[in-house]
Amino acid sequence: MNQKQLETWAPWGLLVATLLIWQAACSLFNVSEFVFPSPLRIWEQMVEYRDVIAGHAWRTFWVTMVGFGIAIVVGVLLGFVIGSSRLAYAAVYPLMTGFNALPKAAFVPILVVWFGIGVGPAILTAFLISFFPIMVNIATGLATLEPELEDVLRVLGAKRWDVLVKVGLPRSMPYFYGSLKVAITLAFVGTTVSEMTAANEGIGYLLISAGSAMQMGLAFAGLVVVGAMAMIMYELFSLIEKHTTGWAHRGSQNH
């Protein structure tokens, strides 16, 4: 097995090893499944409640994607404004940093008052937690434009808009895709946290209800599912990133 194959299989190997140790520890020390269920038990529960879990997972998935979609639109627009105008940067950035420092879970009760129990708070929490990295990355990509690249166009009499469209935006694409990978995982966190208190559906709700019924296996199954969804979306964006902005990652591709 060469180095490359080894790298491909390494994460799976680690996963299997972790599961084996986990299972062995649970069996060996006879840990109660109400305290810490074994992987086998989680798997059994997952199969037993597959329809219930699938329903909740689907709800969490689409709610997250809606919130994430809004985050992309708002994040890109705000990042565009902040990155292309120094005044806007100076005015908006400190406020945004302050806002981002607030724990988003603390917004959920307020959102419930405004929108009631259901999809509203979940979508908005996913949005609030995930638009910040997108905005910051687009703004950074635009603001750190090399003056030489800009001058190339400016000596031709290019307008600010030309410079933004021909140089600024393509150049910030690697930053954008990088931020999507961070933002999508955050969006799942936002949705799940919100569903835990402000919904009657979704993985977050499933976690709370399974926990209160002492069905630890089911709760863990919910965790596994939400983790898997976030990971799949992360890998999807990394794939898109590789295919669209390969020029920015040439160092790692042995060119």
Partner: protein, 274 residues
């Protein structure tokens, strides 16, 4: 003050301070620049580093406005970026997400009248860009990305980009500074041939005296703080010039003379007579 009709580039007592407070302190980056360039003339500006050569370039392109004095290019006062000029820098500054061909085509997407019909005439423009790339020895590299080319090849592409919209004036800011000696001499010849063929004006900023003497019709020597033109030297070597000319006594004599001016400035600071 008005433009003198017989001069393509005309600097009349140009002073520039980078900002208001420097202006109040009478601290200028360049001082009292007077310069008249004929149509089709190739001029070179040499001087120690930090003498304001790049500032001079920014003035010529209209990226900076003079604090005092006036600049005319092609009979028009310079108030903003000129569309009739092309520019190449020390770093090739090609856009890494575009192929070499698309990089060269970039000015046509910006400058009128090409911009208006860029989509319709794209095939024609592409053919033109490929032709131009071929004349500088980049035939077959059109679809490569800049980072797949060597430094010298990138610089060639950058010069093609500066020329694709057929500018009347080519501005070169130490374009060969980062290249090895052999590649640099090769590109001198490329530039010499392009200039002979297309008859555009060239303003070349460099710190390589041999380069300036080999390529230019007139060499200006700039002093450091304040940035002033202190010497104007006409180069009367016959054209077309072959690289062999750089090994003749006449050539060496001129280079030596210019070297003397710069050496004197480095010893005495700026206090040398005109």
């Amino acid at each position: 003050m008005t433009a003198s009709p017989e001069h393509f580039v005309d600097f009349q007592n140009v002073w520039l301070a980078y900002n208001e407070s420097l202006l109040a302190d009478n601290h200028f980056a360049v001082e009292d620049i007077n310069l008249q360039v004929k149509q089709g003339e190739f001029i070179a500006i040499v001087g120690p580093s930090g003498c304001g050569k790049s500032t001079f370039m920014k003035l010529t392109t209209g990226l900076k406005k003079p604090s005092r004095g006036a600049i005319y290019v092609d009979g028009q006062p310079v108030n903003g970026p000129l569309k009739i000029s092309g520019m190449a820098f020390q770093s090739p500054s090609l856009l890494p997400w575009r192929t070499t061909l698309d990089n060269v085509l970039l000015p046509l997407e910006i400058v009128e009248p090409y911009r208006a019909n860029f989509k319709a005439k794209k095939a024609e423009y592409e053919a033109r860009a490929i032709d131009l790339l071929q004349t500088v020895g980049l035939g077959g590299y059109e679809r490569k990305f800049p980072w797949e080319l060597s430094g010298g090849m990138q610089q060639r592409a950058s010069i093609c980009r500066a020329l694709i919209h057929e500018p009347k004036m080519l501005l070169l800011d130490e374009p060969f500074g980062a290249l090895d000696a052999f590649t640099r001499e090769e590109l001198w010849c490329t530039l010499r041939d392009l200039h002979a063929m297309q008859k555009f004006n060239v303003i070349l900023v460099t710190h390589d005296l041999r380069e300036s003497v080999f390529l230019a019709d007139t060499v200006y020597v700039m002093s450091k703080s304040p940035g002033r033109f202190v010497v104007k030297r006409d180069i009367d070597l016959p054209r077309p010039r072959d690289l062999e000319v750089t090994y003749t006594p006449e050539f060496t004599h001129i280079v030596h003379e210019l070297r003397g001016h710069i050496g004197a400035m480095r010893r005495d600071g700026a206090n040398i007579g005109q």
